[in-house]
């Protein structure tokens, strides 16, 4: 046994563990910055091939993104805030929302009359009481909804300071992308060099393509849904459109959220039944365009996960970390799954396992 070698490896392992403990707080920053740099990398590479150095490309991109954010803030945020308040007022109604007010909605009063009719014809069913009890609990939930939303938004606002660090770290990740890769590969022995390079390339390709496609799809669905809802006359189309776009990250179930939100808005706004159908149709058409044009062209391949696994992942994400984790759990599981598949296949091909 080579004792010098063993002692060196032990010292290295201790240093690695100490480093992991010391830097553990910055891992979330690094992961977020890594994702951000993946999204911007094609644009940086595009400019680099046109003789613009990477550091300058990153600065140009940052200025462009800042410009877009500034435009968005000045033009869209006031409108968005107004729509958010309006939507919370519609869904919440605070002190004014009650079962009696709900009963004034023609659609609900129609159902209530029908239920009372049934009660009169079939004695002992008490469907009317059960219906009003159900409405009571629904109004109770709606009254608590704005507080629930505000609570989570405060968490999101708290994350803004976290977000501030991301562009700074991303700048270095983007500027010195090749330097970092070379340094990382230098650590690998000749035996594993090709394996590491192949795994890095495949992860680079899969993760990069997936993240960029996801971002593009969120933007595309938000715009499509906003336009569709605007056309059918649903109130707060921008906010519902953006919510639908973000929820679309969750495969299978995300699209239903957007549709449900649009229909619920018309419903609580006291709109006619036909407008609920129009709202549902608008969201359905958005999904048709997304599934048949945007997704196949942008993503190419769909997330190959069973709907049951998606449902369980979303639930587990929700239990683990609330709404944010519900959104990111499916892509995260997909990426981890891809990573393990790539590693397993290549370890087999290189006859290491």
């Amino acid at each position: 046994m080579n004792w010098t070698k063993t002692i060196f490896y032990i010292i290295m392992a201790v240093v690695a563990v100490a480093a992991l403990i010391f830097y553990r707080w910055v891992f979330p920053y690094l992961i977020a910055a890594w994702i951000f740099s993946y999204i911007l990398d094609p644009a940086v590479s595009f400019m680099e091939h046109r003789r613009i150095p990477r550091w300058l490309s990153v600065l140009i991109l940052y200025l462009s993104v800042l410009g877009i954010i500034a435009w968005f803030t000045s033009r869209l945020i006031p409108e968005l805030m107004a729509q958010a308040n309006n939507l919370i007022a519609i869904l919440g109604h605070d002190d004014t929302m009650s079962t009696e007010i709900l009963m004034q909605i023609p659609f609900l009063s129609g159902i209530y009359d029908f239920v009372l009719d049934l009660d009169a014809q079939i004695p002992g069913m008490n469907l009317g009481e059960q219906f009003t009890a159900g409405l009571d609990s629904a109004t109770d939930f709606m009254a608590r909804l704005p507080k629930f939303l505000v609570d989570h938004y405060s968490t999101i606002i708290g994350a803004v300071s976290f977000i501030g660090m991301i562009p700074l770290i991303s700048f270095f990740l983007l500027k010195d992308k090749f330097k970092f890769r070379r340094s990382l590969l230098k650590l690998s022995s000749n035996r594993y060099f090709e394996l590491v390079i192949i795994i890095m390339s495949k992860i680079d390709q899969t993760v990069g393509t997936y993240l960029r496609a996801m971002l593009f799809e969120v933007i595309a669905v938000s715009i499509l849904a906003t336009i569709a809802l605007q056309i059918v006359g649903v109130s707060n189309p921008v906010l519902i459109g953006i919510s639908a776009g973000v929820a679309n990250i969750i495969p299978y179930f995300g699209p239903f959220f957007g549709g449900a939100l649009a229909v619920a808005t018309v419903f609580f706004d006291g709109g006619p039944f036909i407008q609920m159908i129009y709202a549902a149709l608008a969201m359905y058409l958005t999904q048709v365009v997304d599934n048949n044009i945007v997704y196949p062209v942008v993503v190419g391949t769909t997330i190959n996960m069973h709907p049951l696994l998606v449902l369980l992942t979303v639930l587990a994400g929700g239990w683990y970390g609330g709404i944010l984790w519900m959104l990111i759990s499916v892509p995260l599981v997909f990426l981890v799954y891809t990573l393990i598949t790539v590693m397993y296949t290549n370890l087999k091909e290189y006859r290491i396992i």
């Binding site: 003789r51 000749n190 060099f193 192949i198 290189y350």
Partner: protein
Amino acid sequence: MKTLWSWINTFFGGTKEYRRLREYPLFSELTDYDLYLLSERMHERSFACGEQIFEAGYPLEVIYFIRTGEIKLEGALSGKKDKVLAAKEHLGILDMYHSEERSSTAHAMSDVVVDAISKSDLIDYMRARHSASFKIFTAICSDLARFVFDIAAGKQ
């Protein structure tokens, strides 16, 4: 400042480490900036005498350019006898256009230093730099032609 200076230098010449890549026939016609971009994607590796570089049947992801030393090739491309590749020659380009796997096994015959580039990186680079890729393809064709004529002349 250092970054800015190195960028400016790509326009105005000077002693450049990446110019060394021009010694490889495949890159001999590339411009300085093309070489600079290529060098960012290259990895320097060293192999001791007798060390295996890759084995037939392994997935093909890396193209090697021999900087110093000699490499022995055994397999489909080695012909009747073992083929020995010397400095400035390359390994993997022909396999790259043939299959996803290595067709030969390679061993270092002496201490070897190589410049290695990932196949995906090279393809991405060639897709982005059309003029450079035309020059590289011309060099590959000339390599292939020499290989075919060598076979015809019974040298392989």
